[in-house]
Subunit: 175 residues, 3 copies
């Protein structure tokens, strides 16, 4: 079964990355992804669902571990949305190489791994062993727009064609 | 116009990286940069101006977003100072691959992207599309000497010659 | 003198990485390491001594800089334990490429570099110049199980054989 079919069977809908990159509330300039050799670098990704930010808040204050787990799952889906845009086919992903998961954490919260499990569990459900990256789960102090989780993921892929990255361009009025 | 001429026209003066690496208040041992293939890894860089740290403090407490933006701009200039030292010519940079921007953040501050925009705006002013990296903007909880922003930047470059990195060596008395 | 002999002469005992990866209190799924070309990516590593977590707590509140330094030293030893598992021989390490050191920091703590020096000092004691990586020292807000330091290290190595990474698999009952 293809990775996209597996996503469907899990009831997960790929986010509309192009639509998302057309909005730019902070006037930022960066790209969705860049390939270097057969490594795909993906920009910091947050949880989106139905086109809006999902499960925002601070772990250990506003959100339970289960909420954070869900946020990490959807943030990983967001990464996969970019990978799909870049590679055309999610089955071209050969290995999740590195995942750094930042968890927006209240004072004293130390369950970052159980939160980031939401991301790695999804990757393993889809890719098996190839979905198990090297990983770190770090408590951070604030994320854009009060997001709860941000993932920085690097994937390895087969083949050579990579679609030009989406550019989040500065919007004059935004700053 | 060369990248260095563009920097001049923006009124920006490249930091003296060699002088900076000769001082070592924390007795640290690390290098300014290392090349791996055609990727240049640059050590965490903070804002310097006229040889001293610039715009120190915590976002959301001591500093406004505009101050943080300025700090990120100068931290990016610091990265470019290292790239100039390493590559000899800033026009050898072919792509900004990945930028992780850490913003020293007070409780509840969530405008990290608008701060890190100071770095990516400068890169785009100098390099156009090639200056747009993949990016993450992360709120952190403390940086060396109360710096407000620290950037970890990886660049791609053309050609093969790379100058030996500056080594920040341990100074016995420093610890 | 081999790197392992140097470790012995420093009185440092390599952690039992295999034993450690068999336990999985948070039900996480990730790998100890992955090789990409001649770069070895190592998962976020914390301080272990005699099979248990070592020097836990928050810098600037529970722990002194000296304690944090010690934690960083043992976290680097943990990384080397993974490198030994992966490469068979620590003398195959040719360069420490990048070290991102996260320091669990109390409000106002800004001595992250003096903490992470514990890691880079050990690498330099063992490898000389080749042990000096590019580096960043970042204050974070919470780490798994109240660990004080977490390191994300990338090494370059010679030769081609790399042992299959240890997988921290999910344990059904753990979540």
């Amino acid at each position: 079964m293809s990775v996209e079919r597996k996503l469907e069977s899990l009831g997960l809908v790929m986010p509309d990355i192009e639509k998302q990159y057309r909005t730019n509330p902070t006037g930022a300039r960066f790209r969705s992804h860049l390939a270097h050799g057969n490594a795909l670098y993906i920009s910091g990704s947050i949880a989106m669902k139905d086109g809006t930010r999902y499960m925002t808040g601070v772990l250990g204050k506003d959100l339970s571990i289960e909420h954070g787990y869900e946020a990490a799952r959807y943030a990983a889906l967001h990464c996969l949305g970019i990978a799909k845009f870049a590679l055309g086919d999610l089955d071209r992903v050969t290995q999740a190489l590195q995942l750094i998961g930042y968890v927006n954490s209240a004072d004293g919260f130390s369950e970052q791994p159980r939160v980031i499990n939401g991301a790695t569990d999804l990757l393993v459900e889809l890719y098996g062993e190839a979905g198990m990256p090297t990983r770190a789960a770090i408590g951070c102090h604030g994320l854009a727009a009060n997001n709860s989780v941000e993932l920085v993921l690097t994937l390895l892929f087969s083949g050579t064609e990579v679609r030009s990255p989406l550019a989040r361009e500065k919007i004059a009025a935004a700053r």
